[in-house]
């Protein structure tokens, strides 16, 4: 990698992170809403722990993966709509008229996603530990949980970027947000797959990659070190990120040719 590419990545990453940090109105809801939903779920579904075979001592522990997963969706929407704004207001044209590498632009965008994911993970973990979440994998599990969460955010961030590049509209990107939510809810986010009753919902949750991302994160909280769950979780996260990155690169090339 030559020094000019590194410089480009560095300045574009800095811009992305600075933009994110300077928009508290954008960051704060992505911190508060997942925690509110966690509180509602943990309060309302406590009796689920009495189901035979329920794998956690408290529903709070079980549901702790929810805000991390939801924050990845926020990251995707945010990354997409922010980038779409650049396209809409002509900022991408400005960048396109410089010798900037599209790869540097993509890396810069994803740096903003990482920054937001790290802030979210730090806040959720702090609040979670304060309200009594018991992370069975212990102190060492925390960075692994953060890593899986960031990797998941990057994957969904790429999806948001693809949407922005394809549509060039912030509103269009945001209209996909409910679809992301559907992806979360049709997974094992609320109950373990084996307790979903064996019907169509369980079948959908079984083929839904989100289930494996959730189960990977959740295993660190409620089980400890579950090699299979972690392998599947990281495997799907890496696959999602790789596929997203590939798709975003293609879309970026197409957009830059058009731009």
């Amino acid at each position: 990698m030559d020094s000019s590419l590194l410089t480009q990545i560095s300045v574009l990453s800095r811009r992305s992170v600075v933009r994110t940090l300077r928009q508290p109105a954008m960051v704060i809801p992505s911190l508060i809403l997942p925690m509110m939903l966690l509180a509602v779920n943990a309060g309302g579904l406590t009796s689920a722990t009495e189901l035979p075979g329920f794998p956690a001592d408290t529903y709070l522990d079980f549901a702790f993966a929810f805000p991390l997963m939801q924050s990845a969706m926020f990251g995707a929407t945010l990354a997409g709509s922010e980038f779409a704004r650049d396209i809409e207001n002509g900022f991408l044209n400005r960048l396109a008229l410089t010798p900037m590498s599209p790869a540097a632009l993509l890396a810069g965008l994803l740096s903003g996603v990482i920054a937001l994911a790290l802030i979210q993970a730090a806040v959720f973990l702090t609040v979670g530990l304060v309200i009594g979440v018991d992370i069975k994998s212990g102190f060492l599990g925390v960075p692994v949980l953060v890593a899986l969460s960031v990797l998941t955010s990057l994957g969904f961030g790429c999806l948001g970027t693809i949407l922005a590049l394809r549509t060039g509209s912030g509103e269009a990107v945001q209209s996909f947000f409910p679809l992301f939510f559907v992806g979360i809810f049709f997974s094992s986010i609320s109950l373990p797959r084996e307790l979903l009753g064996g019907g169509w919902f369980e079948a959908v949750a079984t083929v839904n990659p989100v289930s494996y991302l959730v189960e990977g994160m959740r295993s660190l909280v409620i089980t400890g070190w579950d090699a299979q769950a972690l392998a599947l979780g990281f495997g799907f996260a890496v696959a999602l990120f790789a596929a997203g990155l590939f798709g975003a690169s293609i879309s970026m090339r197409t957009r830059m040719e058009r731009t």
């Binding site: 600075v18 933009r19 300077r22 002509g90 400005r94 396109a96 008229l97 410089t98 731009t259």
Partner: protein, 322 residues
């Protein structure tokens, strides 16, 4: 080989799907160091041409070379040679003026030390030194335009594209921007391709003017030559008694063809006679005038002559340029 920092356009066409032919066979040539003003109403195709010449939009057909580079086959060469301030000042509201300069300079590959020096120099040049640490969302329209211009100059381009740089600016900001553009052309030898819908702007800044309407160039020359082509002045009369406007129009009609006039007035392009003979004719009919004005030809007269419409106000209410 010495590279020519001019612009050569030959039969450039741009069609949009399910839309009109936004640019319909435009050919033009801009010499190095020249200020070329592209004048036309909203929707005439000015911005579309700028987007094509800056490689941001591929042409449907035709060819163009900017700084000697083909806009389709050698777009990186074009991009390295030009600076552009497009129709909307595309700035990041969450970054400061100085951060914008640093970002732009870095992407253009300026060394770290040079970035700061060049950034500060340009910010001072456009009068934004004091506002450099403020976020752009707090800037006025004029400040944004000036920052946009400074950003376009970071890498010392030899050709500068300015797409309606003063639209929406107050007279003071407009005048400051004109001074800067004139300075760039006269002192630094930068070739400037400027689009505008303001007659005065084209008249003051441009060495040559291309008048575009519905995607076609309808006239092209120096502002003086274009106006001389019209030759004849117009005369506008405002009767003291508005009820006599028809009578005034009838008298004026003896001296030439009617042209658009302001409300309560009548006007003709003088084909024969002069101001004195018109005054005598009005006096003979006992028509008392509140105002009588002799107007030298303007670029609007040129536009009117070539298209049958007046440029002033012809694009009001429209957005963008297609």
């Amino acid at each position: 080989m010495e590279r020519s920092y001019g612009i050569e356009v030959e039969n450039l066409v741009r069609e949009f799907k399910k839309g009109p032919r936004a640019v319909d066979g435009v050919s033009l040539s801009v010499s190095p160091g020249e200020v070329y003003g592209f004048l036309g109403p909203n929707g005439a195709g000015k911005s579309t041409i700028v987007l094509m010449l800056t490689t941001l939009l591929p042409p449907t057909s035709g060819t163009a070379r900017v700084a000697g580079f083909d806009i389709v086959k050698e777009e990186s060469g074009v991009r390295a040679s030009i600076g552009a301030a497009l129709q909307e000042a595309a700035l990041d509201p969450f970054l400061t003026g100085r951060e914008h300069m640093n970002l732009q300079a870095s992407l253009h590959g300026l060394a770290r030390k040079e970035r700061k020096v060049r950034g500060d120099e340009l910010l001072e040049r456009v009068g934004l030194s004091e506002a450099a640490a403020r976020r752009v969302r707090g800037y006025s329209g004029g400040m944004k335009r000036r920052l946009d211009l400074a950003l376009a100059l970071v890498h010392r381009p030899k050709i500068l594209f300015l797409d309606e740089p003063t639209t929406g600016l107050d007279p003071q900001s407009r005048s400051a921007l004109w001074d800067e553009v004139a300075h760039l052309a006269r002192e630094d030898g930068v070739t400037v391709f400027l689009t505008t819908q303001y007659l005065e702007e084209a008249d003051i800044l441009a060495d040559r003017v291309g008048i575009i309407d519905e995607g076609r160039i309808v006239a092209e020359d120096t502002p003086e030559a274009l106006k001389a082509e019209i030759g004849r002045p117009s005369i506008e009369a405002t009767p003291a008694d508005l009820g006599k406007l028809d009578a005034v129009s009838k008298v004026l009609g003896r001296f030439g063809e009617a042209v658009p006039a302001s409300s309560g007035s009548a006007a003709v392009r003088l084909e024969h006679g002069d101001l004195a003979t018109v005054v005598r004719a009005l006096d003979a009919e006992s028509l008392e005038m509140a105002n009588l004005q002799l107007n030298s030809p303007t670029l609007d007269d040129v536009f009117l002559e070539k298209t049958g419409r007046s440029l002033e106000g012809s694009g009001d209410g429209e957005e963008g340029d297609g």
